[in-house]
Amino acid sequence: MSEEQDPEALVSLLGREQAPLLARRFYGEGTPSPITASLAQVPELLEVALPFVGAALGPAGLDERTKEIAILRTSALLECRYCVQTHTAVALDVGLSTGEVRALRGEGDLDEAFSDARERVMIAWIDAVALGRGPVAPELATRASEALEEHELVELTLAVSATLMLNRYCTALDLPTGADTLARLAAGGFA
């Protein structure tokens, strides 16, 4: 990200030069993500939000593949351009196939892409949590509790919930996708 601010941007993405003192440790050596560079406007929130997001969306009891399925699928359902583009690249990095990624993005058949019964239940759960407006249907809740340990269900649900928060954040603030990510997606035939 350039140190120069886009005058058309809804909020400034703080470059390294303008990063508040307590935000600097989140900038690392490379280019900060737009989420980091925007949250830096409120460093006391950045200090709690980024570790939370990292913990909620990173691997714990569930592995990276499962987490990326949850993040990408939720982001596609919420139509978050930034999150879909960014996590398409991440999903490919952690080993999801092009067909699996396309299916999660709503550009292919999920049943064809995912043959594992447990993953299919997880995806159904993700869809219900991401799009639902009330309790999850009892039949799906039963299937999920049979396929997943309780702690896995908690972790998966929190991953979807945290992604929903980020989806709305990134979409409302119209955060820009990095040029490197866009170039990579274009090379792979993704929008």
């Binding site: 601010q5 030069e17 508040p20 003192l21 307590l22 406007q41 409120v42 460093p43 006391e44 929130l45």
Partner: protein, 278 residues
């Protein structure tokens, strides 16, 4: 003793909490940190907010208050506010002293009985040179105001801000000192400090660079949040600088003060906090 009071006693952070009362000003000085001018965004902190934070600061163990801007005395409530602050802790107010008409002078007379000082900017012993940086008629208004304040028993300090203090003409400096002595201001109440290369001084290519390692940590509250030093909440090109922002949260004050202490704890050994508003 609170943890914060211990940090102040150990000189990890300064004992004075600063309030940026507002950012607008009747002057438009060439080196202004905040690009203050009559029509800029006011960023007014507010009388009640200042008093509430001041009460918290006193309870936490801060030992003094500072008020700066902008020009604080452009706000009608400033004389009363400063008196209230001064009744709690020693207080210093930075002012250009160009708004002290008879009515204002009457309003600030109660400050004479309080541990309050008004720190007034006067940069040069000659009107032309002084007014080059600070605006027309500034010198005349200042040298008229200072004796009136002194006569009323109000504490006055003089601050001289120079592009390069090391290159200052000794003869000019001596004439400036003769001038402030003639107005009743002793040498110990005259400070000379460099222009800091932030705000309008950047546009005018003036002053010395100062990162956070060169500045003393002093909790500084503005309408935009808590900052590391009174040199920190600067404005450049109309945009507030955030590089020395501590937090947007200013209430409870303990949260912002705690964050400042955390930052101060991480200061590298041997850092040189040699530039401070006095």
């Amino acid at each position: 003793m609170t943890a914060l009071a211990e940090a102040i006693a150990a000189e990890k952070i300064g004992g004075r909490v600063w309030f940026y009362s507002n950012y607008h000003c009747n002057l438009q000085c060439s080196y202004c940190l905040t690009e203050s001018a009559p029509l800029v965004k006011r960023r007014e902190l507010g009388r009640e907010a200042i008093l509430e934070r001041a009460r918290e600061a006193s309870a936490l163990g801060f030992t003094g208050y500072g008020v700066t801007g902008g020009e604080p005395f452009i706000l009608d409530y400033m004389p009363d506010l400063v008196a209230e602050l001064g009744r709690e802790l020693p207080t210093i107010v930075l002012s250009n002293a160009t708004l002290f008409n008879e009515r204002r002078l009457r309003e600030i007379e109660p400050l004479a009985d309080l541990p309050v000082h008004i720190q007034i900017s006067l940069d040069h012993p000659d009107p032309v040179e002084n007014d080059e940086m600070r605006g027309p008629e500034n010198f005349r208004k200042v040298v008229e105001a200072i004796p009136k304040l002194v006569e009323r028993g109000i504490g006055v300090r003089i601050a001289t801000t120079l592009d390069d203090p090391d290159a200052a003409d000794p003869e000019e400096q001596e004439r400036l000192c003769e001038l402030h002595r003639s107005m009743g201001i002793p040498d110990e109440d005259h400070v000379v400090r460099p222009v800091i290369n932030r705000g309008r001084a950047v546009s005018n290519e003036m002053g010395v660079l100062a990162g956070f390692e060169q500045l003393e940590p002093e909790l500084t509250l503005t309408a935009d949040g808590a900052f590391y030093s009174p040199f920190a909440p600067t404005v450049r090109g109309g945009r507030l600088d955030t590089d020395l922002l501590v937090s947007r949260t200013t209430s409870p004050l303990s949260a912002a003060a705690g964050s400042l202490v955390r930052i101060a704890d991480d200061l590298p050994a041997g850092h040189d906090a040699s530039i401070g508003i006095r």
